[in-house]
Symmetry: C2
DNA sequence: TAGGTTTGATCAAACGATTGAGCAAACGAT
DNA sequence: ATCGTTTGCTCAATCGTTTGATCAAACCTA
């Protein structure tokens, strides 16, 4: 690890000169010859400016933390990709912090920011975290942006067009002639689940259909919870002919349970899942899904925390481009 | 963000005293009263030592990078969990760096280490990366440990008991009466694939079975490549009755292709996949797998890089505890 | 050629924490 | 009472980088 002094010594100049040249400050006032010698020396020594020294000097690390509840969550991979790419463009790096529950997460975040390891925090709230859990964590001092969750106080947020996504799913089922449609939702405590619930109600109403409350479950987004939902629904005297499943992971579990129960998909039951993931294409039957703009969610979240770090600006953004898109596979059939 | 000076001012002492108390140096020589005042002041100001300053002082960040080729890889989640937990125990944090291909990864790693952002690098090599690609990256100066891949020069490594894992799979199939067993492997360039290949040969030989070379494919570990393998095998005049699939993701793709081709699993074809993941339990039929010690792989890898950072010690470790374990589900049947 | 401006560089302080060296006060021994 | 030792704390240098202030030399103008 060579330092500015090493380069300066090799080039026979002062470290100030080297610093100005290598950070190409506009007011550098360095002769061409000197500049050349410095650049040569830097290259020869494979100079890289020391991260800690710059962070200390600028009180800024150009690192943001991405706190996620669960790495197996369907939305994680694409989200991460979006965050990372935007971060790279903005000169940032991403420190991934998994946090099964939000209590250690709060401690972790406090530490990360308190020690100045990161300039800001992106928080993807799990669906078992209530909005209140976050209050303590985010009391103003920490630049933070919530991903797919909102709060009305001093914290920015970026959310998905959940209503529109569910509407796409419902419309597809309605077009296939279904009228008896259920919703397999996430836990009611979660923000995204309530948006999806609203979307479901609106879309059903718009289609002139009545919602049978028994057809709406809210066990959670995980495969196990999807299975539970299927069991509950199958126990009903009157069953829905189609389901909108609010998460593709839950849909996978639901699919297995349906098979176990001898319910044929799509012949007995049509399924549309929210979120497209590689697993949907590799299920049987291949799952028809609604692709949500997760990559863009990541990019925009990164842009938002970037703005938040630089100014006090806080806003709540909905990712609208691209719109939720139906990915037609084989889990839905005409009624 | 309060600093040592802030605490010192509040406590009415010098920053040296504060530093010694808060880092509880053994040779502190501070009176009880002063110590108390300092601790109170620190608590009141919510003091956290500045990360950049310490990193600069110690030339050490207590951060390691984990470079993975693909976040959707079956082994990633558990691996990451192991790495993170061991890191936390050792006072380290993990910077996750995704690297689709190894060229940008090399640049990224060079930057990470060159700038002193991380003290070491854990590299999980993708199966499309040849061992040679790594040579340039790891020319000695960077403390690095390869995960599930080996090199014979100045780089440590931690690998899975791949041979044993495949042997467990083969034994299970043999016990079910299968004699015509195939292997769906990763790309031959990858280290793990060649170990699994060796394991397959040994296990078959041990069972007194002949390997039909046509039953061995090596397209890769991804679902698409699993599908390709299934297509190739189904085109054969004589087909295997059972397959060991070297990766659970490939097995998922293979399963879908089998259905598409009208091959019934497990009636026409038994399948055992290497690596257990939540997706295996949520496939149809639920996949019988061999659980590999991925969590331990992560823990031990972190311990290895920790040692490597502190000393020049380099060694190659095989994770042997727990041993690969059969997870019996429904994708295998008696022949 | 004297006086002023521009050019091309260096000096030195600062960021926050650590730590060996130094120093005054209190203490103990003779 | 004098001299060494211990105690309890502060001074100051250091890590590597940035940047306003400074300064000598070269250049321009009248």
């Amino acid at each position: 690890m060579s330092t500015l002094s090493d380069v300066a010594a090799l080039a026979g100049v002062s470290i100030s000169a080297v610093s100005r040249v290598l950070s190409n400050a506009p007011s550098s006032r360095v002769s061409g010859a000197t500049r050349q010698r410095i650049e040569d020396a830097a290259r020869e020594l494979n100079y890289h400016p020391n991260f800690a020294a710059r962070a200390l000097k600028f009180s800024r690390t150009n690192v943001v933390a991405l706190v996620v509840p669960d790495l197996t969550n369907a939305i994680f991979t694409e989200l991460m990709r979006g965050v990372e790419e935007a971060a790279a463009d903005l000169g940032y790096m991403v420190l991934l912090a998994r946090a099964e529950s939000m209590q250690p997460a709060a401690a972790t975040m406090a530490k990360l920011v308190g020690e100045g390891r990161v300039d800001g925090v992106l928080v993807q709230v799990g669906d078992n975290t209530t909005s209140e859990d976050l209050a303590g964590i985010l009391d103003g001092r920490v630049p933070a942006v919530l991903i797919n969750s909102t709060r009305d106080d001093h914290v920015g947020s970026v959310i998905l067009p959940d209503e529109a996504g569910v509407a796409v799913a419902v419309r597809h089922l309605v077009e296939l002639g279904h009228t008896s449609i259920g919703l397999v939702n996430g836990l009611p405590t979660s923000d995204s689940a309530s948006r999806r619930s609203v979307g479901f109600e609106r879309a059903m109403t718009a289609a002139g259909l009545r919602i049978n409350p028994a057809f709406v479950t809210s066990f959670g987004y995980d495969p196990q919870q999807g299975r539970a939902a299927m069991r509950t629904l199958s126990a009903l005297a009157e069953r829905p002919t189609a389901l909108v499943v609010a998460n593709v992971n839950a849909a996978l579990g639901l699919l297995v349970e349906a098979r176990t129960l001898g319910i044929a998909v799509p012949d007995d039951l049509s399924i549309v899942a929210i979120h497209d993931a590689w697993t949907a294409a590799n299920a049987w039957p291949p799952l028809t899904t609604v692709r949500m703009p997760l990559y863009e969610l990541g990019k925009i979240s990164m842009a938002a925390i970037f703005d938040r770090i630089r100014s006090e600006a806080i806003d709540d953004v909905v990712v609208t481009d691209p719109e939720p898109e139906l990915v037609l596979r084989e889990s839905t059939a005409r009624r």
